[in-house]
Each structure stands twice: as structure tokens, then as C-alpha cells.
Amino acid sequence: MNIIDIFSAYKEGFLQGLGVTLKLCLMVWCIGISVGVGFGMLSAKYQKSFGFSSKIVSGLISGVPIIVLLYWLYYPMQQQFQIDIPAFNVAVFALSFVNIFLVSDLVGNAIIELPNQYILSAKVSGLSEKTIHLKIQIPLIFKQLLGPVLLVQISTLHNSIFASLINVDEIFRQIQRVNAIVYKPIELYTALAIFFIVITVPLNMLAFYLKKKYAKDYSER
């Protein structure tokens, strides 16, 4: 049985796994970016209260491997509180939680570190608050953030395979399941690697392109 035969025989399972992975990632990306941007803005505005708390949470998160967080939320926490949350929802929550604070950190830092002199320069040129926000602050921050935020999303995609360990039927789990039947590890895991390469390489290239195009060295010569 070659790889094409395997894929054609188990295509339903693979497509379902692919769908679950993409659905998981899309949800985590959307939640992480939208809430993370909001948190980042609040962190920058209320540096001493919200910003400080956010930094502590983000520091704690960076010290806990995602797999531990997933296990903790799926097994002991649910047992402790006598609740039953589907594995997919737990994975969305855990990955989004991490994504939110990573994005929030990036956004908060970008806002705080935006040199004030550009704002002063805009002010003395008589630009309105609205124009300063829309034409100066947001584009500068946005362009600085595009690359790094994209890289965080790529890492989220990679982390999504850990969801298989709490029984989420995503692509990695489907590959494992099929491998248990046909035992073709080289072919199957190579195909999985290719799947991730196909998605992440263009994203990596886009991140690199955006970084080169927009987040270029703005410093004065």
C-alpha cells in the first residue's frame, strides 16, 4: 500500500482531521488576535494595573509548556470541578489563552515603545488626534507587528498538534490512528510534515516579507 492508496482509503479520516486542525487554528487565531490586541491596548494604557497583571500572566504562561496546560485543563480541573467540557473546546481555550497573552505582549510593547517624538512632530504640524491615531500611530504599530504576530500564529499552528493528546481528532491524531492500522510511519509522518510545511512555509515567507517591507529599520541614519 503506497501513500496515495493510504490517503485514498482513509481520506474521510484525514479530511476530518484536517478540518478539525484548521477549525481549531482559525478559532485560536481569531480569538487570540482580537482579544490579544484589546488586551495589548489596555496594557499600554493602564501600564501599572492591567499591564502589570498581564505581564505576570504572560510570564507564567511562558514558563508552562502548552501540553501541561492542556492536560491540566482537560483532566484534573474537570475532575476537580465535576464538569465535562469537550476536548476541542478545552484545546481552543488553552491555545487561545496562550495566544492572547503572546499577542497582547507584542501589541502592548509596540504601543509603549512607539517613539513619542513622532507624536510631538505630528502635534506641532497641527495634525488632529484622529489623524495622529489613524495616519501615524496605527500604521507604525501595525507595520511593526505584522511579522511577529504572524510568527506567533505559526507557532500556534504547530502547538495545535498537542491537542491530539487530549483526544481532539485533529490531523496528527488521525495520522497516528491510521499508522496504528497500516504501520507506514515514514510515509505518514512525512506526509504530515509536508502538510505543515505547505501551510507554514508560505506564512513564514509572508512574515519575512512583511518584516522586510514594513518593519524595516526606521532609525535615523
Binding site: 517624538q117 512632530s121 504640524s125 489623524t131 501615524i136 507595520k143 514594513y214 526606521y218
Partner: protein, 237 residues
């Protein structure tokens, strides 16, 4: 008239400006001279209301902005009636030089009648499509100057704007400043270039260690009264 009255500025407990009184009058070029660290840039920031003085009053055409008793709540800033070119220039890095110049002009619906002659004069036509970080210090100075001049301010504050220019460009800038003065603009030029001050200035203010040590007609620069100004002239002339 643009006036700084009894301006004090303290930063981290240090007195950066001590009781400075300076007037910028229309149709006059006043030169603010002094060694590095004397408080020239801080004073310009205070006078342009970008920084709140610790104490003192800024008066713009009769409108008082008092900072005595800790008043800091002003929101109706007089920009671009009063505008400034910074020593660090601070062109918007994500915009081309042309966009840098046009953005405030569009906001204030200024006509572009003076655009072509000025960019021609300041020789920046070839770099309009470039980004600031692709330009030399001198080119950026000329772009920053163009941006603020085209706003047609009544009072123009300039912080060392000729420092990165070659002699020819300094002469061009000098002639433009005289032209602006003749059109009625009041200019306060912070500079190290004593010759420039003597050539185009009407009066001067000499700052040293945050104090206004001497002021008067620029002709007085040839016969300074205080030892501190004499010493400064000896070093910088």
C-alpha cells in the same frame, strides 16, 4: 508676539531652565545661542507647548498659557500657528518624504502654490519618493524644514536645523528664513552657528546652564558684555 515669561523647568530635581524670558516677534529672526546642554531645546519645547514648563507663562498673540501653580490642562494648542523643526527632525518613518510634507498640508487644506518653488530651492525634488531612513541627515533636515515652512506658521521655532547642512545649503536655508521673516513670520533659531546668527539674526538670546545670560541686538555679539558669552564666542567662532 510669542512670549516665554519667567519659564522654569525642572527635570528629576535638576533646574534645566531658570527664569527665562524670551520674545519672538513677527518679522524678526531671534537667535537662541548657547553651548550644548544649556537648555535651548528644552526652552523651545516649552515655548512650543510640547513640554509643560514647571513654572511660567507662554503667551501666543495675547492668549496666555500659564503653568504657574501646576496648571497643565491645556488642550487648545496653537498649532500650526506656532510650529517647530526639531533637532532630531522626527519625520514620520513609514511615509515618504513627499507624504511627510503633504500630510499636514492636506489636513489644513493649504494650497500647494509654494510646494514646487520650495522643493526646488531646497533641492529635495529627487528624494521626495524616498523614505526618511534612505536619506542623509542634511536631506532630512531640508525635508523637515519644507514641511513646517509650507504650513505657513506665524511663529517658527527651529532647533539646530542647519547642523547637518553643507555651506551652500546653509546659505539657501538662510535666504529662505529671511524671506519668511520679510513675509511676517517670527522665527526663533537655536543654533551653534554664530556666523549664521550674525548674518540673518535681528536679536539674540544667550543661554548657559539654564540661565539667560545675555541678550540684545545681534551686533552685540561682536562686543559681548559678559565673560560667559565672550568665552562661548571664542570657542564657537
Amino acid at each position: 508676539m510669542l512670549q516665554g515669561k519667567n519659564i522654569f523647568k525642572k527635570i528629576n530635581g535638576l533646574d534645566i531652565l531658570k527664569d527665562i524670558n524670551i520674545n519672538v516677534e513677527c518679522s524678526k529672526i531671534s537667535c537662541l545661542i548657547g553651548p550644548s546642554g544649556s537648555g535651548k531645546s528644552t526652552f523651545l519645547s516649552c515655548l512650543s507647548l510640547l513640554t509643560n514648563p514647571s513654572n511660567g507663562i507662554v503667551v501666543v498673540d495675547g492668549k496666555e498659557y500659564s503653568f504657574n501653580n501646576g496648571n497643565i490642562g491645556y488642550k487648545d494648542f496653537p498649532y500650526p500657528l506656532v510650529t517647530m523643526v526639531f533637532q532630531g527632525l522626527f519625520l514620520f518613518p513609514h511615509l515618504t518624504n513627499e507624504e511627510n510634507i503633504l500630510l499636514p498640508l492636506k489636513e489644513h487644506k493649504k494650497t500647494l502654490d509654494n510646494f514646487d518653488p520650495l522643493i526646488e530651492k531646497l533641492n529635495i525634488k529627487d528624494i521626495l519618493k524616498k523614505y526618511p531612513n534612505e536619506c542623509s541627515g542634511g536631506e532630512k533636515q531640508r525635508v523637515a524644514l519644507t514641511r513646517q515652512i509650507l504650513l505657513e506658521p506665524k511663529y517658527l521655532l527651529l532647533d539646530e536645523v542647519t547642523s547637518a547642512l553643507d555651506l551652500e545649503a546653509v546659505n539657501t536655508v538662510a535666504s529662505i528664513l529671511v524671506e519668511l521673516k520679510n513675509k511676517g513670520t517670527g522665527i526663533l533659531l537655536a543654533t551653534h552657528m554664530l556666523n549664521l546668527a550674525k548674518t540673518i539674526g535681528d536679536d539674540f538670546y544667550f543661554l548657559d546652564r539654564g540661565e539667560l545670560v545675555e541678550y540684545g541686538d545681534v551686533s552685540q555679539l561682536s562686543r559681548p558684555l559678559t565673560d560667559r558669552l565672550k568665552k562661548f564666542i571664542k570657542i564657537y567662532n
